[in-house]
Symmetry: C2
């Protein structure tokens, strides 16, 4: 970060160098503060606002920092992603998965990033909600057995090569084709298809979706291949809603390295494997006379030493220090031996689909927002509607209100989210329900009091059916599970109004 000496505004210098000096991410990351300052001057980078000179750059933190505990001694950070919780708990999760691969763990939670300019409403927030799956597999057995169900699905991809050649139009390929050329790991392709279908279920058609591959320098440090799922938003243009990264063993390996915790799994071979190994044997007849009473100590140290290290030392330096004892080439012998291995230990690989939930919520609303006859109809997917059912008495007198309230209570007990409304005309109540995105409205009228039938009205088509009150709960359960369509719930009394 550097401040303009004239207007005092502050800027991210790495971004300015990338934009104005065409440096890459990796190049700017490798510079220290003085080198950055040199580059600013060499490339004559000025304040983008007032063209003033920039001052000496300083570091700043994109994580939120706080102190924990009353004595302000321990520094804590807001987590910038949620994933690491799964990695540090890997052993426990692996145990719950009965120590078998592949398996996945999913979580949802908040993440915090001290964004420079959190504009665009819910699209870029400093505190946001992230949902991810860390899916672990054996890199030697990367086959996804579920692939057969989805391999003919299409994916709209902008692979790295295409992107670099300046083409923005996606290629549309089947999963099978994509795996030949564009996607490294089957499980990654599998989750990309699920992500596509998920967004379709949220209301975003396939041709308003695409997957863009990240170029080498755009990828996070942990990712060996990364695709961003983007959808088209009328308000914000193409917007990332999920990331699909092949994190390999990066995270587990780094936790292992820094904490020393065992994060590997054991794979038993079908039958034990004979392996040739080089073993170090101390030559006791030589060691005894030289080291005398320390001879056994020297032998013990040699037995614990790394065979390759001892060999290299003796070859390059002519001796190896076993503690404070100088061991010479004639003191040891290297022997080839056959050893039976029953299995091997390895670190699983990970593919990670990761969704920005705030953006998804926004996308659902934008795609659901419709107008009909100048009235708002929020066509939110029926299984996501906050109010599932509206219950209206035609009038409030002659017991109709009581009848409607009792139906309302019954549906609540059956597990539905229901709103009772008796205010204003039926038309006005329908309009209110359309605006709130309530998929089904039930009206109790004078006929209900005689024959126990009610009218159901569909938000999306405005058509109406008549059915027995007794059938309602089952009918509606099936409807909200997408196992029954609206017209199948009763006798059509008002067909779909064409406009």
């Amino acid at each position: 970060m550097a401040a303009c000496l004239k207007c005092q505004k502050k800027f991210r210098v790495d971004h300015l160098l990338q934009e104005q000096a065409k440096m890459t991410d990796t190049q700017t990351e490798n510079l220290n503060l003085n080198e950055i300052y040199t580059q600013i001057k060499r490339h004559k980078i000025k304040c983008p606002e007032c063209k003033g000179d920039l001052g000496q750059p300083k570091y700043f933190m994109t994580m939120f920092t706080t102190t924990i505990g009353p004595y302000s001694d321990a520094i804590g950070y807001g987590r910038p992603e949620a994933a690491q919780g799964i990695f540090v708990e890997f052993k426990r999760l692996h145990e719950i998965a009965r120590e078998k691969l592949p398996f996945g763990a999913a979580q949802i939670g908040h993440a915090l990033r001290n964004e420079i300019s959190p504009r665009q409403g819910p699209i870029r927030l400093r505190e946001f909600t992230i949902a991810d799956i860390e899916f672990f597999f054996d890199p030697e057995e990367p086959h996804c057995p579920l692939l057969k169900h989805i391999e003919d699905e299409t994916l709209r991809l902008i692979p790295a090569a295409r992107k670099q050649s300046g083409k923005n139009e996606p290629v549309e390929v089947t999963v099978k084709e994509a795996l030949k050329e564009y996607i490294k790991v089957e499980w990654q392709a599998y989750f990309m298809v699920l992500a596509k279908k998920f967004l379709e279920e949220l209301g975003v058609e396939e041709n308003r979706q695409r997957f863009i591959e990240k170029l080498g320098w755009e990828r996070a440090h942990y990712s060996s291949q990364g695709y961003d799922q983007e959808i088209y938003l009328d308000r914000w243009g193409w917007t990332e809603v999920s990331g699909h990264n092949y994190r390999t063993d990066y995270d587990l390996e780094h936790h292992r390295e820094h904490s020393g915790a065992d994060l590997q799994v054991f794979k038993r071979y079908d039958k034990p494997v004979l392996k040739e190994k080089i073993v170090l044997e101390p030559v006791l007849v030589k060691i005894g006379p030289i080291f005398k009473k320390d001879a056994s100590k020297v032998v013990a140290i040699l037995r614990q030493s790394d065979v390759r290290e001892v060999e290299t030392c003796l070859k390059t330096k002519g001796s190896f220090m076993a503690g404070s004892f100088k061991v010479l080439p004639e003191h040891v012998r290297f022997v080839k031996k056959e050893i039976e291995e029953t299995g091997k230990r390895f670190t699983p690989h990970v593919v990670e689909p990761s969704f920005g939930m705030d953006r998804l919520a926004y996308a659902v609303l934008e795609y659901a927002y419709n107008k009909r006859n100048d009235r708002v109809v929020l066509k939110i997917p029926r299984d996501l509607a906050p109010i599932q059912i509206g219950v209206f008495p035609l009038v409030t007198k002659d017991g109709l209100a009581e009848e409607a309230r009792s139906l309302c209570n019954m549906l609540v007990i059956d597990g539905f989210r229901v709103e009772y409304d008796e205010a204003g005309s039926i038309g006005r109540r329908y309009a209110r329900a359309d605006e709130a995105g309530t998929p089904i409205c039930i009206t109790i009228d004078y006929r209900t009091m005689k024959d126990q039938t009610v009218t159901l009205r569909d938000r999306d088509s405005w058509s109406q059916v008549r059915t027995m009150k007794d059938n309602l709960a089952t009918n509606l359960q099936q409807y909200f599970l997408f196992k029954r369509e609206f017209e199948e719930m009763g006798k059509i009394v008002q067909p779909n109004k064409k406009l």
Copy 2:
């Protein structure tokens, strides 16, 4: 906070003064740092660990602090409660509630408190999950119309007076009785009963619950009456799980005062009310000759001034400054007038039930944890079980595994959370399901292949029934809605094993 000069440990001095010098919360809150230091010396407060002298006290913050934005200039705090979001959005919520009282808004989210000693596992966390309802009502119409449904329910209360007299045993009273003596507001009593029933549904019997009233100095600044709901935990003793505070108009009034935002509502009278008001009338014949060309300016200022303020000023000081103009008693007249008011503006009152969700999750697990024949059976309430149904083929050959998998998929489509398990003996799989708290296990055996019946097994009684596969979805839906008991789901083949 002060540090021990000998062992360097740090302590909350307000707590030490309360404990050792028997000062009240209010007394310590009114002291500044120097006065606190004086009190430490006067009462000879020493380090509770090593009896060393305490140093000069310093302030510390129980909220987490961070800086927002890349330039580290705006200070931000982790919110210590979630409620305020509802208060600042009051106007919008009131509009959604169609501008009618009473109404409530519920929310769940994280809160952060920089606790000194977050011990006791999930009972005291620095980041915790809070769920609260802010329920708004008109203080002139405090009647709860739902009271009639619950007024004969009992509450186990330890009211303030009882607590102060040193009695820890609760009185058991009906809601009706409680409202006469112990609880100020009907809505508060209503939510306390709901909270009691809620905890019962989570597995905590009524006699392991109690409500303790907060004494004046224990209550938060916003609360006019507060009850803590406590439950008995084997591990931690009596533990608060919810707070029930009558926050009055404290929050809305304070937001109004500091932000100037309109957070009042308008109540229309049934018929307009005539009210007598004192009105200020400038005496033009006196003002004209004195102020000349400024006369109209003086009149305008007087018309906008607060009548009481002008009156007081004239009485006490003999004059009132209208801007830079000195107004004397003879320049104005105070006249009584009758004014028709159509309604009035007021600030709603609030009762707040507020639940600590981490503690509730812990309580559910502790109360669900049971043993039978030395095996763990997690009797988690059926509607909370993370896995609702286990599906097991008796053996994996002869098509039983495929049959079980297809049943499993069918139940998933029907919206159930299902786990398929084919590993180990049936007994072992039942044991695993018991330990994970899965309420229902379904077994597919050779008979299933002939007559399409399956065995259902109950986690809690270990009894078994046999039923047609076709009936399963409806049966299970009813079971998980508590509308059907286990034995009603089929023909009993294995009755409840008595121990």
